[in-house]
Amino acid sequence: MTVGATTPRPVANLPTDASPATRVACVHCGLDVPGPLRRGDGPSFCCAGCEAAYAVINDAGLAAYYGFGVRRRSPVQASGRAFAEFDHPAFATLYVRERPDGLGDVELYLENVHCASCVWLVERASLTVPGVASAELDVGRSRVRIVWDRAATPLSQIAQFLDSLGYVPHPYRGARGEEARRVEDRDALIRLGVAGALAGNVMMIAFAMYAGWFGGMEAGFERYFRWWSLALATPALVGPGRVFFRSALGALRHRRLHMDVPIALALAAGYLQGAVNTVRGAGPVYFDSVATLIFLLLVGRFLQQRAQRAAVDASELLASLAPSVARVVEGDAVREVPVEALLPGWTIDVRAGDTIAADGEVLAGSSRVDTSLLTGESRPVAVAPGAAVFAGTVNIVAPLRVRVTTSGEESRIGAILRDVEEGARRRSPVVRLADRAAGWFIAAVLGLALVTLGIWLARDPARAMDNTIALLVVTCPCALALATPLAMTAAIGRAAGRGILIRGGDALEALAGHGTLILDKTGTVTEGRLAVVDWTGSDHVRRLVVALERHSRHPIAAAITRAWEAGPLPAATDVHETLGGGLTGCVAGNTVVAGSRAFVRRHLRDASVAMPDAADGCTGAWIAVNGAFAGVVSLADPVRAGAADAVEELRRRGWAVELLSGDTPLVAGRAARALGLPEAAARGGASPEAKRDRVRDALRAGPVVMVGDGVNDAAAMAVATVGIGVHGGAEACLATADIFTTRPGLAPVVELIRGARRTRWTVRAGFAVSIAYNIAGAALAMTGRVDPLLAAVLMPASSISVVLLAWRAPTFARTRA
């Protein structure tokens, strides 16, 4: 994911013979300096990155940095890039704002920001770059906001400077929705503060009134207090309290009931009766209950919003790390431009290891392309001039020249993303437990109110109205409305500590039930890379093979090297790689050939020798030594450790588990067997569109959870009831995921399902508690025993029990993952 953030000239492989006594700490980062790099005189550095940063800091006259007790204790990891794309006009229109005074204003996301010393270094050091007017770092969000003179200094220079200090900059991509969210956050905060201040003061006056009630009070004072509490409750209701009326009216207009409807009813009834009684100078007033109610409800909402915002922030930072640069070929020169500026017809240069930036046609070069992001196919696809390549896929072996045919939104990946956005917009909201309860609740309260009115009209008409209103106020579903958001917020917060980021409580609610759970194979269930599973030859040959294979970057060669590289190996000479064929070379005097069956057969002395197949559902690499067939290596993308247990538990909890894969059905079937699933539950060869359609089908039977990691899953995840993105996934996939995990594998998914069940239990327990309070309150009100004091005590008491319950409930483990 961290494109460009390649480890800089790492010296980590050098032998470190540092005994504690002879330990030399890097002057910049404090880590051990490997022996060969130690210097007798002057400062020593653990790596070139730290040395460069040290020079920059000293040149800027900022050596005081080294006086801080708390510093970043990690080697500088500069990317060393030119950041030329930061100067492109397209970049400027997207990310740079022009201020009225003509200065540019840009927000960059920085890698490796940790603590106070980072604030100091980033802000101070940036100011030493000519033309920079201000730099402000937000540590919590790792974002720096730079205001600079665009005429004096190109942004790339500032970017290079930050990079040289180890803070690799990326354009912050969430900036567009940011302004709206900021306003929304501030409004919520203002509502909360104002409601709190008003509630506190109404309460203060109410205390005086209750004291007067027991101790006696002059009628004049009582009237005075009443008018003041009316004066304070009015702004609380029309100011911060307005949100409840707006949302209740919205729900009624759509002929739906949700929790805000009974809340608005209680608030209105309490307030109006209080106002009437104040004017007429007799009867109970409930202004303290009304004001406190508004405040408590807003607290619940605020907490919930915050928890969700934190998850959204985290996912946007990941999106900011996506590659932003393409290398455009112009004549003999190669220029870096932002991906957004690419036009059809241009030629781009794609180095080995780079992500292809646009759809296009290969002009020159032949290589292998990892398309797993787009298709889910775990085996790299060979490409040669004339072949079509797609944006988002990764070039593995050799450089390519690609003529751009479509880019941006028009590309295949762009189309999938549009699909995803639409799917997300159309997604039907999960019906909340609290909203389902709301209908019953209103019916019950209104029924009881009518009964109360009837009984008291018959017995004592003068008190009928007072008692009916008391019933409405005392049964206000404050605790009921708090139960869900608080339990969800507490659970979301705890889940975040476990590396599970949840963007909305609805997802958690859906996960507590059961339905169909669809797993993507590559990367989700499996490691996402090939590994050796079988070898038919001898140990001696094995050593020859690995000696040869370690010279290649092909994924099969890499897998073999990973599995077998141990101890001293003979040297390989005359190594030659044939694209789409294999490797030949000379190892310890033997001619060794490794590659596809056809390729190896060409190198056999007797071409008619039978060569066995690779193991079922595996990729094979055939080996010949000195012209004789010597064995076959079977490679497969292995199922992650613990995945089978996870699937077993998911099934036990009532989820129908299915496996979808872009790989061939044979490979998908193999993975299903390894997971203990029937082969019928696995579907191979599924394109992104086919995955989406499968999810739609399954939705007819009930809720569907889609777990995936690639763009090829994004469309399916957007359609599903809940989309879960797993660690290491593509940005597009994270953008649509309701939930994503920062730990790989299925263990977090299982934890999530368990946590969702416990959260649902907590919500229900909260409901039970608050309904018990309401029943008690209703009974008292109907018998005419509720006065404003009792209402003011009963209401917060029920809310506080619900809060404690939500906070103490063991939804997710407390330990950090």
Binding site: G61, A64, R99, D101, D105, C115, A116, S117, V119, W120, E123, R124, L127, A133, S134, E136, L137, D138, V139, G140, R141, R145, V147, E179, R182, D185, R186, L189, I190, G193, V194, A197, N201, I205, E218, F221, Y224, W228, L232
Partner: protein
């Protein structure tokens, strides 16, 4: 007890001032980032170069 006729309006006037101050500070972004400002005093102490912040950007 008639002092209450003065004290309550006075107390509430102070509340109004506090609320106005709070609304202003929330609007001007004082609560947007609660982490970094706490770290800044640590670092601004020995500013060698007088602040070159020509103009701070208006708060978001």
């Amino acid at each position: 007890m008639s002092v209450l006729y003065v004290l309550i309006p006075l107390a509430l006037a102070i509340v109004v001032v506090a609320v106005v101050a709070y609304v202003w500070s929330a609007r001007s972004g004082q609560f947007d980032d609660l982490e970094t400002p706490a770290l800044r005093p640590l670092i601004d102490e020995e500013s060698k170069a007088p602040s070159r912040r020509v103009s701070r950007p208006p708060h978001r």
